[in-house]
């Protein structure tokens, strides 16, 4: 589905954020991107939809090379890629509904979006998505009136409103509490499974990546140093990615979180599917 060929990014300051990253993402696979901060995770994700312009290499989305596109074509390709952000990145002063509908901006002409006159199908779909993420009653609230977890659900609904073929997810849970983190991760993986959507998920929490991801890619200093199933993420591999560290301590907290998981499962069952 998505293929990166020796993608590199050097910032104007001379810092090399990515060097020769190659990656293949098949349909329906959820990839966790781990690595220390500054390893280039965020740059990699933003290169895919060219929020950051890559310096060299190719990005193939279903056969189309995204790197060579002009502005207009880039716009039509961007709408195929849904993005979910670390701090939700909702437009705070717009209503929840407007935020979800903003996922359709790549599809509607300017004057229609300006007058908020979206197609009936779009509006129906937006309601359906809000229902799916459990926020049907909040459609007319302003985004800044919601809690963190609710905002991230709106962010997910906005990305899905694009009818994407790929999801880019940037640290989706970094600003949430442990319980909400699991709810959001569960929702994400469920949605990807329902739609057979591939996703690249930036994640700084290794136990969380192990639990929810189907495949893990480790980045260190802009290079892929690990690419395998979560089960293969040994202590050795972690040291390769993060450098030396006491991993046993981390594992202990891992089991603690597993206990809280059973609680969240009950909560999640209340969210209408």
């Amino acid at each position: 589905m998505l293929e990166l060929k020796s993608l590199s990014k050097t910032y104007r300051t001379g810092d090399a954020a990515l060097t020769g990253v190659s990656l293949q993402v098949p349909k329906g696979q959820i990839i966790g991107l781990i690595g220390p901060s500054g390893a280039g995770k965020s740059t990699l994700i933003r290169c895919v939809n060219r929020l950051v312009e890559p310096s060299s290499g190719e990005i193939l989305l279903g056969g189309d090379n995204l790197v060579t596109l002009g502005r207009r074509d880039l716009r039509t390709q961007r709408r195929r890629i849904g993005m979910i952000f670390q701090e939700y990145s909702l437009v705070e002063r717009l209503t929840v509904m407007e935020n979800v509908l903003s996922g359709r901006l790549g599809y509607v002409p300017f004057w229609r979006s300006f007058l908020r006159r979206f197609d009936a199908v779009d509006i129906q779909r937006a309601y359906q998505l809000l229902d799916r993420v459990g926020l049907l009653d909040h459609a007319n609230k302003r985004a800044d009136a919601l809690s963190g977890g609710q905002r991230q659900r709106v962010g997910i609904a906005r990305a899905l409103a694009q009818n994407p073929e790929l999801l880019l997810v940037d640290e989706p849970t970094a600003s949430l509490d442990p319980k909400t983190i699991r709810q959001i991760m569960r929702l994400l993986t469920e949605i990807c499974a329902e739609r057979n959507l591939p996703a690249i998920v930036n994640i700084h929490d290794v136990p969380l990546a192990r639990q929810f991801m189907q495949r893990i890619v480790g980045l260190r200093a802009g290079q892929v140093v690990f690419d395998d199933a979560p089960a293969a993420l040994s202590e050795d591999a972690l040291t390769r990615i993060y450098g030396a560290e006491d991993w046993d301590a981390m594992r202990k907290s891992d089991t603690e979180e597993d206990e809280s998981e059973s609680d969240t499962r009950r909560d999640l069952s209340e969210i209408p599917a």
């Binding site: 939809n49 929020l51 716009r75 039509t76 390709q77 961007r78 709408r79 890629i81 993005m83 952000f85 701090e87 990145s89 909702l90 437009v91 705070e92 002063r93 717009l94 407007e98 903003s102 996922g103 359709r104 901006l105 790549g106 599809y107 300017f110 979006s113 300006f114 962010g155 906005r158 694009q162 880019l168």
Partner: protein, 270 residues
């Protein structure tokens, strides 16, 4: 503990060099002041200055009691003044919005050409008082309300433009990035990402400027640009100081009321 001989017996607030520099700075300021004073008062006729208290007493005596019967005649010019301020503010805001979009670093289409042009428009408009604009416009398009409205609008561009472009530069880039990521075009990024974030600032700035414009429009009539200033000019020309008192009190009341309205609206927005 510590050897007491290493502890200095003297303590001073600043080092010697800084103290000297500060003294030199003050001395330079005083010298500059004295010199400026000399140059400025070269042409002053001191006889007039010593005569001033008597003049003040004379004028003060003529100002009282106010000629209240003049008040009804002032209502039409007052209405004109309000219109100059309001329509001028509307015009100024309409013109300032595109200028500020060109001036803000994150929305300008070209940093090299258009941004400096927009910044120059803002500085030029800010440095020239509306009374000067009115003076110019009266000679160009003739006396009347229109000159006043345009003068107020031209002066407002810089004020609103500066505050608005600063507000645009302070918008949250994450919200804008998210809209760009959906595949939105530049105009859509503007209306969905930027506009909702700066709307409260725009309203606050406009109301604030409207309040200032009420003050400024009261005197535009002095150069013929309509409003209550025309009456002030006329009354002073015939030395009818008792009418001047009424006009000044009316201006004062208008300013106080407009300040109150502006404060109430701004509080409601925030």
């Amino acid at each position: 503990m510590s050897n007491s001989s290493t502890i200095p017996a003297e303590w001073s607030h600043r080092s010697r060099v800084t103290r000297l520099a500060i003294w030199a700075g003050w001395l330079a300021l005083v010298a500059l002041f004295v010199w400026c004073w000399q140059v400025m008062t070269e042409t002053t006729i001191w006889a007039f200055v010593w005569d001033a208290p008597r003049q003040a007493g004379d004028i003060g005596g003529r100002m009282l009691p106010p000629e209240w019967s003049y008040l009804p005649e002032l209502m039409q010019p007052l209405w004109d003044t309000l219109n100059i301020a309001t329509l001028g503010t509307v015009g100024g805001v309409v013109l300032a919005v595109p200028v500020s979009l060109l001036a803000a670093r994150n929305t300008t289409p070209s940093v090299v050409v258009l941004r400096p042009v927009a910044l120059f428009i803002i500085v030029a408009s800010r440095s020239i008082n509306s009374l000067i604009w009115a003076l110019l416009l009266v000679t160009i398009i003739g006396p009347g309300l229109l000159a006043g409205i345009i003068a107020i609008a031209l002066r407002s561009i810089g004020f609103v433009g500066k505050l608005l472009y600063e507000a645009i530069e302070e918008t949250d880039p994450k919200q804008i990035e998210a809209i760009r990521a959906t595949g939105a075009g530049p105009a859509q990024v503007l209306t969905y990402g930027v506009v909702p974030q700066v709307m409260p600032a725009l309203w606050g700035i406009s109301v604030f400027r409207w309040d200032i414009n009420i003050r400024e429009s009261t005197i535009l009539g002095l150069v013929g640009a309509g409003g209550i200033g025309l009456k002030l000019n006329a009354s002073m020309a015939v030395l009818a100081w008792d009418q001047v008192t009424v006009i000044l009190l009316l201006i004062l009341a208008t300013v106080v009321v407009s300040e109150w309205i502006s404060a109430v609206i701004r509080r409601a927005i925030i």
